[in-house]
Symmetry: C2
Subunit: 302 residues, 2 copies
């Protein structure tokens, strides 16, 4: 398996899926749907939807059954980026090398495009899996829990509060990373797994051992991913990163790098990567691509 080639293929599937499963830009109101697509089509690594597709393929042959779930996850992820970039939050002008939504449109349109993408995440799952209501329910339950006030939004809130303090604690930092980052990566793998089980006519059971292994994999991959984000913010340059680098140090933000130092942060990322690979090893099916993806995340430069 050629990792770079396979990644490219999966990303292309995701981008085709986005085009297929999100209303056309001309749908009334055109400005809203144009803004939704502007942010969705800005590129990015597409890690979460690719994880959903590959998790589904652990349980059976590759088909497009997990594509709507993958696109739904990317919609929810993109909403969180749009709202996070707003002036009252991180006030970021640049995202993936392009103007952020509120810069390209205006604040109100960006706010509403985020709201609409979050809602579309649920709507898409509800429509696309309408013929399998038990699966649809399982997917929406997972998505709502991961995106909710105890996880994704809760992580954003604690992140915001931590920024206002001189020093956030290790406990606060872990809460933020577990919820702001790892939650949606866990959800991507679990939702992909649920679709995979359903296509094999196996019970949709979030408590089964394979779903638990996917959740564990996602948790460690998410933490490794976020620690590397802190490392890259401290070491990379804006052009390579595609977003403003060095913001954390400038804002005196508590990160793994600030709390533990650069070497220890890198070591912690490696440890979480090892735990993610251990969880992956317990899973069935073709695992080469996921193995390479987990490894690549730990070694990434942007």
């Amino acid at each position: 398996m050629d990792y770079a080639l396979e990644l490219k293929r999966q990303v292309a599937r995701v981008e085709r899926g986005i085009d297929q499963h999100v209303p056309a830009a001309a749908t009334r109101p055109g400005r809203l749907h144009t803004a939704m697509r502007y942010s969705l089509e800005a590129g990015g690594k597409r890690i979460r939807p690719v994880l959903a597709l590959t998790a589904a393929e652990l349980f059976g042959p590759a088909d497009d059954s997990a594509l709507p779930a993958a696109v739904a996850i990317e919609c929810v992820h993109t909403y969180s980026l749009i709202h996070d970039d707003l002036p009252c939050m991180d006030n970021d002008d640049l995202r993936r090398g392009r103007p952020t939504a509120h810069k390209a449109f205006d604040e109100a349109t960006a706010l509403l495009a985020g709201d609409a993408l979050l809602t579309h995440g649920f709507g898409l799952v509800a429509e696309a899996y309408a013929g399998q209501p038990v699966l649809a329910h399982g997917l929406m339950r997972e998505l709502a829990a991961a995106a909710g006030s105890r996880r994704l939004v809760g992580g954003q809130m604690e992140d915001l509060l931590a920024e206002k303090k001189a020093n956030a604690t290790a406990d606060e930092l872990e809460f933020i990373h577990l919820n702001k980052t790892a939650a949606m990566i866990e959800a991507a793998l679990v939702m992909g797994g649920l679709v995979g089980l359903a296509t094999r006519s196996r019970p949709i059971d979030a408590g089964n051992v394979e779903i638990q292994a996917l959740r564990n994999l996602g948790r460690h991959l998410g933490l490794a991913f976020q620690i590397m984000d802190d490392v890259l913010d401290a070491t990379a340059d804006t052009a390579t990163l595609g977003k403003t680098a060095g913001k954390d140090a400038l804002a005196d933000k508590t990160t793994y790098v600030k709390l533990y130092g650069l070497d220890a942060a890198r070591r912690m990322a490696r440890e979480h990567t090892a735990s993610a690979l251990a969880a992956l090893a317990t899973l069935p099916g073709p695992k080469d691509f996921l193995h390479a993806l987990v490894t690549a995340m730990a070694e990434r430069k942007s």
Copy 2:
């Protein structure tokens, strides 16, 4: 049936339901959950959740089976108010006689509390009806469609665009009112009806004749409600209204009053009320309360 007494009883049920089905204020992060409850507990007419409860009771004896769906609708409605009040949208300082969320907390907290309430609407339905996945799926599908980019958020977007123009057209005004206001009132009645069908072990079919009648009732009630909102903004005072009055004229906003005049607007509200009552007449079960509610909406002073 004493309408005022029965309304008070239903509103009390809704407020008990909110307390029961929304995370406690102390749930981590406390600031987020405190803000969510601040806006949810601000009172208001509770029209949408009361409609959901009473629609369910058309199909069988009163119990609490529709309460989680009713609370979910109020969560989504409250999110839309919080985001609508933000400085980049209507920039309103007062809501239901109290400071708006971004005034009582700050913009970022209000933004996230709105995001979390929207997500909680879906999460609550997913958890509360987990034992009835077909019903849960039907409810979430309805909620996502009503709150999505073609309806609730789409209505907000067109409303915003219309405000920037000298004169919005009748078509634009109808799009706004159908989607910004009527969509969630329709969804409340339909979701209540779906729970009512399920408790009678009847198929959850959004296409059945009773669900269609509920949708029709909601559409006309929603339009009557919104036209009365325009009338009240033009005629009531801030103290009675519990929110800033006269804003539409000040902003030269296109409303039914501006487009058709006060008398014609009042007549149109009466016509939609009559159509709502005609739809109600085709439905089974005890209808006195819904009849009184529809009539009261058309005659309301705030």
